[in-house]
């Protein structure tokens, strides 16, 4: 018998990229008895979901830092608990202010109401009501992220039935919720929240969820719907929808990888794919850097659509319209990451101590004007001098992330536009200035921060592109705008994971339902391949 991967004995499937989605695809395919090979360019799996000891003794959640929508059915199907996945829910979302105690939104809704009451009694009354409405809408929206997106222009019975089901669900909401659902999908986060709340100190941190990973501002239409994500896990207005995996987000990747291996998948690291093998319009395997060719009956790409189609496949193999659409696909990296090793915990000026308020996430989002100003700068091609920052202290959630008494701090920063006015390739010259802006901003809230820093890692979107291979460093593999969601992700008519190249499937965040450590694109792609008998 010829070795696996030779022309005579091809793999059933090759997965390009060992990110969490690629690993999920592999696990599902292997679980169905297929012979699967995962090829990862770096020395470790995980993609943007990795934990690395960049500074001795300190483990950084290098890119992604929390888990929100990892699908429960994937956790069950792949037995991730058995493979070591442990999650610690984030108990609080703290928004400090320079001149006051700021706001903590706790997992406990009553506590949250008390906090909000200080800002606005009216808003405190409305908060639970808002949570209830969002809970209802979340129940409506949830099926969309767990199944294939129906194409409203299609005449296929399956699309029609799915659309009809969605339409029936929509109408069953009642007129008020129908209108609200429509508003939620089209409005800006701030405008939507202002329909309910008056306190800017409350609206600002709530609106942030809509801009994460996008090149949009909190006022930009279309940013409201992400609010729903917070209510998909819980329905009582708590912020428990977020969790930190013990061992960092790399532990999620490792659990999925371990599951995939247990089902028989093979994972090769330091195996960079340089191009797709295409014969007669059909994907027949891959070519590695260095020339090694590996044959497979089908290929799943866990890379972003632009890299997959324009980089690995090549324009010449694609239908013209499709290639144009991929060229028009908006990647637009807008965020950077700063990871910091700390000698001691840098306390907040207005809520000192290492209390429960810092065991969740901390959002530097003092006002909606602040957030919009940060966006304005990015629009014109510079990083925000006073950015939105989402801070998590992994060492408070998992003591193993840093040596005793020391801490690590993960800062997700927006905006850092990939396209600097001076050109994306000039990021290396601006990288440290960007890091300084982040530290300066944080030091306003944490006065001792600068003295406490032992080491700092700054990642611009350019760095994310260079290191993780994500085009323009967009953490979601492409803007989560309305025009790039559902049946239009990544291209209208090609949102069912199948691609114009026979045998090539897309199972990354650039496919429906999109980004975040969800696992859904990878899992749905694998299921679709199996259903189609393609593997």
């Amino acid at each position: 018998m010829a070795t696996l991967g030779s022309e005579q004995n091809p793999w059933d499937a090759i997965v390009i990229g060992g990110g969490h989605n690629g690993l999920t695809s592999a696990a599902y395919l292997a679980r169905a008895g297929r012979k699967v090979l995962v090829l990862e360019r770096r020395h470790l799996v995980g993609g943007a979901s990795v934990t690395e000891e960049i500074y001795p003794g300190f483990k950084y959640t290098v890119c992604s830092y929390v888990v929100s929508l990892l699908r429960p059915w994937i956790i069950r199907d792949l037995e991730l608990s058995k493979h070591g996945l442990r999650m610690v829910p984030l108990e609080c979302s703290y928004t400090p202010q320079l001149d006051g105690p700021g706001l903590c939104r706790w997992a406990d809704p009553d506590l949250t109401r008390q906090e909000i009451r200080r800002l606005s009694p009216r808003d405190a009354d409305t908060y639970p009501e808002f949570g209830k409405l969002m809970g209802k809408l979340a129940r409506f929206a949830k099926p969309f992220i767990d199944e294939i997106a129906p194409d409203p222009t299609s005449f296929k019975p399956s699309d029609f039935l799915q659309l009809k089901r969605a339409a029936d669900r929509f109408r069953s909401l009642g007129d008020d919720l129908t209108a609200l659902q429509f508003k939620l999908t089209t409005m800006g986060g701030v405008d939507f929240l202002r329909e309910f709340f008056e306190s800017d100190q409350l609206i600002a941190p709530m609106s942030c969820s809509g801009i994460i990973g996008t090149m949009l501002g909190v006022n930009s239409p279309g940013t409201a719907y992400v609010l729903l994500h917070h209510y998909m896990g819980e329905i009582d207005g708590s912020s428990r929808a977020w969790a930190f995996p013990v061992g960092g987000t790399g532990a999620v990747s490792e659990a999925i990888a371990s599951s995939a291996r247990s089902f028989g998948a093979e994972i090769r690291t330091e195996a960079a794919v340089s191009q797709m093998r295409i014969k007669n319009g059909r994907a027949t395997g891959v070519v590695l850097e260095g020339g090694e060719e590996i044959a497979a009956r089908s290929v799943v790409s866990g890379c972003d659509p632009r890299l997959t189609f324009l980089g690995l496949v090549g324009r010449e193999h694609l239908p013209g319209d499709f290639a144009t659409s991929i060229e028009r696909y908006k990647n637009r990296g807008s965020s950077g990451k700063v990871n910091i090793a700390l000698d001691r915990f840098p306390e907040f000026a207005h809520r000192p101590g290492i209390g429960p308020h810092v065991t969740g996430d901390v959002a530097i989002a003092p006002s909606t004007d602040y957030l919009e100003t940060a966006f304005d700068e990015a629009k014109y091609g510079t990083f925000s001098r006073r950015p939105f920052i989402n801070v998590v202290f992994p060492s408070l959630l998992d003591r193993g992330m840093a040596p005793p008494g020391k801490h690590v701090m993960s800062c997700f920063v927006q905006y850092a536009p990939y396209d600097l006015a001076s050109g994306a390739e000039t990021w290396p010259e601006h990288r440290e200035a960007f890091g300084d802006a982040v530290v300066d901003t944080l030091a306003e809230y944490m006065p001792t921060l600068k003295e406490d820093i032992l080491h700092r890692q700054v990642l611009s979107p350019w760095d994310i592109q260079e290191q993780m291979g994500i085009t323009e460093g967009n953490i979601f593999h492409g803007e989560l705008g309305l025009e790039q969601l559902l049946f239009q992700r990544p291209v209208a008519g090609w949102a069912r994971f199948k691609t114009p190249i026979d045998g090539l499937w897309l199972g990354s965040s650039g496919a429906h339902p999109g980004g975040g450590i969800m696992g859904a694109p990878g899992a749905l792609a694998a299921k679709e391949m199996l259903k189609a008998g393609a593997v």
Partner: protein
């Protein structure tokens, strides 16, 4: 963390049992002693003093204040005269109850409302078009209830209002232990009783004055446990227990109309312009589904049940707030009993229950789940009139109607 009321200094000093619970964000005593029996009997035999500051309080003022409140409440507040208090409920646009509470007319164009939940957001939503100001005075005004047959006697030496003329659901502005405030003849015990309203700064003085004046009458500080027993005896519903505010219901089926929650009597569907009316007119056409009834559990059956396990039945005056199913004799579930208690005064076991409309006529025999030694059993319960306990002293007023000289 719960906050403390202006009376906390005193209530904390009296607290023996360390039994605090949270009430609307405040720390409130459940019972001061190890159990609440003494407190219960103080309310029914002498008078009990209860810190009711955590009630939400709103001052509604301005030329359109009455119209505005009449829009929000089921009662026609435009007809409420100065010196009177009305009990009623507020509904949402679907006619589902949001909350129940009182509206007091302090003076023309000046009202104070109380509720169990916070409603400032709701008021703001409906304010446009009305010339009113709304202030949340919850944190500014301290409130005490003195309830029981001797409450009038005790207060004679504390307040300068004409208590003999103050009618049931009446209100008087007066001095209370020297401080300016209000007294209302209202309460949640179904007994003779008053509620006293003063600025926070005067809270302690008033508290001391009442306990001092009441010492010879046996006045006791009372916690929420004893209050709960008396309110069930009085047949009063409690938001969050006997019905759930439609704002807090995660599913629509949980919501209640005024009829469903025993508040139908506060509703006048002929009156126009109040929120929820249109929906409730439709309900009237179709007939309400539920009603809230009083149930009396068959004591002999309870005793027999316990006897099977060689146990005596539980007799302490302590209310149970865990809903249990209500069945027909056939075994079909037709509702749930939401609050229940043993009434030490009436010597009966009582419950409030939400029951399918068809089974609510007085005298109907139903079955209520009753757990003994972790086994679920049933006892017979009869639909009876509410209130269970309704002494004449609750409503009678010595000088009303005014005595004409012979």
């Amino acid at each position: 963390m719960p906050r403390t009321t202006p009376f906390h200094e005193r209530t904390a000093a009296l607290m023996q049992s360390y039994a605090w619970k949270e009430w609307a964000g405040y720390a409130a005593p459940c019972n001061y002693d190890a159990h609440s029996e003494r407190e219960y009997f103080a309310i029914r035999r002498s008078a009990g003093l209860i810190d009711v500051t955590p009630l939400y309080k709103y001052e509604v003022t301005g030329p359109d204040a009455a119209r505005f409140l009449a829009r929000l409440w089921t009662r026609d507040i435009t007809k409420l005269k100065p010196g009177r208090v009305a009990y009623g409920c507020m509904c949402d646009g679907d006619g589902m109850v949001l909350d129940d509470g009182t509206v007091a007319c302090l003076a023309p164009e000046r009202y104070r409302m109380t509720s169990s939940e916070a409603w400032l957001g709701w008021f703001e939503q409906h304010r446009r078009g009305f010339d009113v100001q709304i202030e949340d005075s919850t944190d500014r005004i301290a409130a005490l209830a003195l309830q029981g047959p001797l409450s009038r006697e005790v207060l004679r030496n504390v307040v300068d209002a004409d208590l003999d003329s103050l009618r049931f659901f009446g209100l008087a502005a007066c001095h209370l232990a020297g401080a300016e405030g209000w007294i209302t003849r209202t309460g949640y015990t179904g007994d003779l009783g008053y509620e006293l309203w003063v600025p926070n700064a005067d809270a302690i003085t008033l508290y001391d004055a009442i306990l001092e004046a009441g010492a010879e009458h046996g006045v006791q500080p009372i916690g929420l446990d004893a209050l709960d027993v008396t309110r069930i005896e009085a047949g009063f519903v409690l938001q969050g227990i006997d019905y759930v505010s439609s704002r807090s219901c995660l599913i629509d089926a949980r919501r209640s109309t005024p009829e469903d929650s025993g508040l139908g009597w506060t509703v006048n569907l002929e009156r126009e312009g109040w929120i929820g009316r249109e929906a409730l007119l439709r309900e009237r056409e179709n007939g309400p589904k539920w009603n809230l009834v009083g149930l009396e559990l068959d004591w002999a059956e309870i005793e027999d049940l316990h006897a099977e396990y060689e146990l005596p039945p539980h007799l302490a005056p302590c209310a149970c707030r865990e809903a249990v199913p209500v069945y027909l004799a056939s075994g079909k579930q037709v509702g749930q009993a939401t609050s229940s208690t043993w009434s030490p005064t009436l010597k009966r076991s009582l419950a409030l229950a939400q029951v399918h409309r068809r089974h609510t006529s007085i005298g109907t025999k139903l079955q209520v789940e009753h757990t003994v030694e972790f086994e679920r059993r049933r006892v017979t319960a009869t639909v009876v009139d509410r209130p269970f306990f309704d002494p004449p002293r609750k409503t009678s007023t010595p000088n009303f109607p005014p005595k004409t000289p012979a």
